[in-house]
């Protein structure tokens, strides 16, 4: 099929309960909220209720996107999550029914974190340009809070729950450019929930352990993040990935109107910005009300920039996701 694809609609959903820095300061008494706020850029994060799952949130954002939209035109549904409802069946199958999408819809999940949004766009582009699908609903949704141990000060500070989604369709103009991907599985142990899969079953009596070099406490049933190693990894791969994706799209860095990186934390992405000499006014940083929302952080950024008018018709936006896996990916969107 000739032509290209574009993002027709973008939206996000944040669960209602909010965990503020003040509340965290009451739980962890030696926690310096001023310092945390200036370094991470986070004031509060939304935390899903005990009975609200990532699939529930995916349904909410799906409903928002399909409001006043001909939902019979959707013929593919893709869900990116690392907070699955079940081992099986696939969350996207349940979601097809909950959203009332027609039966002749293709649906599947894929498991990626911070690089997931860019990957989903690549999958959608491939499905549409091969003539396999016409209009795709692609949703990212995660409840990282359910993976984090209650005494894990660091991760409770950084992560927030969110879902986001886009509708992608065929277009005459190029809306989604060329992609660059990267994978380095040698780093898989640095961002991991060790127990609960089939390699190491969930252990009801898993002992508490300290996260080295921090005063956070976790168990093997919960999320572990080696912050310094993850930062090293981003310094290693992100600048090169940005250069590669610019080259592949035959663009110079100053032709990009906006850069939306995965919102890991303010300190990390601002350091990457300075290292790449990207001007501050072209670089999206906003974790204030959400924290790090893994695969949803880039689409949330895109929606906020479109709503504020900072990104509009004709804008070129470079997006880059990186994290758990290690996995990373980048592309350039044209609005």
């Amino acid at each position: 099929m000739t032509g290209n694809v574009r993002i027709e609609k973008t939206d996000f959903y944040l669960p209602e309960p909010v965990l503020t820095n003040r509340e965290l300061g009451n739980i962890f008494t030696d926690w310096d909220s001023g310092k945390v706020e200036s370094a991470t850029g986070i004031k509060e994060r939304h935390i899903a209720a005990e009975d609200e799952t990532a699939l529930d949130m995916a349904e909410k954002v799906g409903q928002k996107l399909l409001k006043d939209f001909d939902k019979s035109s959707i013929d593919f549904l893709i869900l990116c999550t690392q907070s699955p409802e079940y081992y099986l069946p696939t969350g996207a199958c349940i979601l097809q029914d909950r959203l009332g999408l027609k039966i002749n819809t293709g649906a599947f999940d894929f498991n990626l974190g911070c690089s997931g949004f860019v990957y989903g766009l690549a999958l959608a582009k491939g499905l549409i340009l091969s003539g396999t699908a016409q209009k795709i609903l692609f949703i990212t949704s995660d409840t990282m809070s359910k993976h984090v141990y209650k005494k894990d000060k660091g991760n409770r500070t950084v992560f927030g729950d969110a879902a986001a989604g886009v509708i992608i369709s065929h277009s005459d103009e190029e809306g989604i450019g060329e992609f660059v991907f990267g994978t380095d599985g040698s780093g898989y142990k640095n961002l991991i929930v060790p127990n609960g899969g089939l390699r190491h079953r969930y252990a009801p009596k898993a002992p508490e352990r300290e996260v080295p070099g921090t005063d956070s406490i976790r168990t093997d049933n919960h999320l572990y993040m080696n912050g310094p190693e993850i930062f090293n990894f981003t310094i290693d791969v992100v600048p090169g990935t940005v250069n590669d994706v610019l080259q592949k799209n035959r663009l110079f860095i100053d032709e990009i109107d906006y850069f939306v990186f995965h919102q890991a934390n303010k300190f990390i992405i601002n350091y990457l910005r300075k290292k790449m000499k990207i001007p501050e006014n072209k670089f999206f940083i906003d974790l204030e009300q959400t924290g790090n929302t893994v695969s949803s952080s880039i689409p949330i950024g895109l929606k906020k920039l479109q709503d504020s008018g900072a990104v509009g018709k004709g804008s070129k936006v470079l997006i880059c996701g990186f994290g758990v896996g290690y996995s990373w990916a980048a592309t350039i969107l044209k609005f």
């Binding site: 310096d32 070099g213 956070s216 912050g227 310094p228 190693e229 930062f231 090293n232 300190f267």
Partner: protein, 78 residues
């Protein structure tokens, strides 16, 4: 890099109060301001000024300012 310049940069990175003296024998991990965010700051400082990378394990083993300078490489300082 001059040792004094490095210590100044380190003070800025760790957001240590002006009144506090920092020297080669100061035990970083005993400073009140030193926490997991400090480690990220040190990674950025070393990447920016020395083009070097310290592993997560190295960073966990930091004790004194001198130990950090040894990890960076004593030939980097005058």
């Amino acid at each position: 890099m001059e040792k004094d310049r490095f210590i100044e940069l380190l003070k800025e990175t760790l957001e240590i109060d002006e009144s506090i003296q920092l020297n080669e024998n100061t035990v970083l991990t005993e400073i009140e301001e030193y926490d997991s965010l400090s480690t990220l700051g040190i990674i950025a400082l070393i990447d920016e000024h020395f083009g070097k990378k310290l592993s997560g394990e190295d960073l966990q083993n930091i004790t004194t300012v001198k130990s950090l300078m040894e990890m960076i490489g004593e030939d980097q300082f005058k």
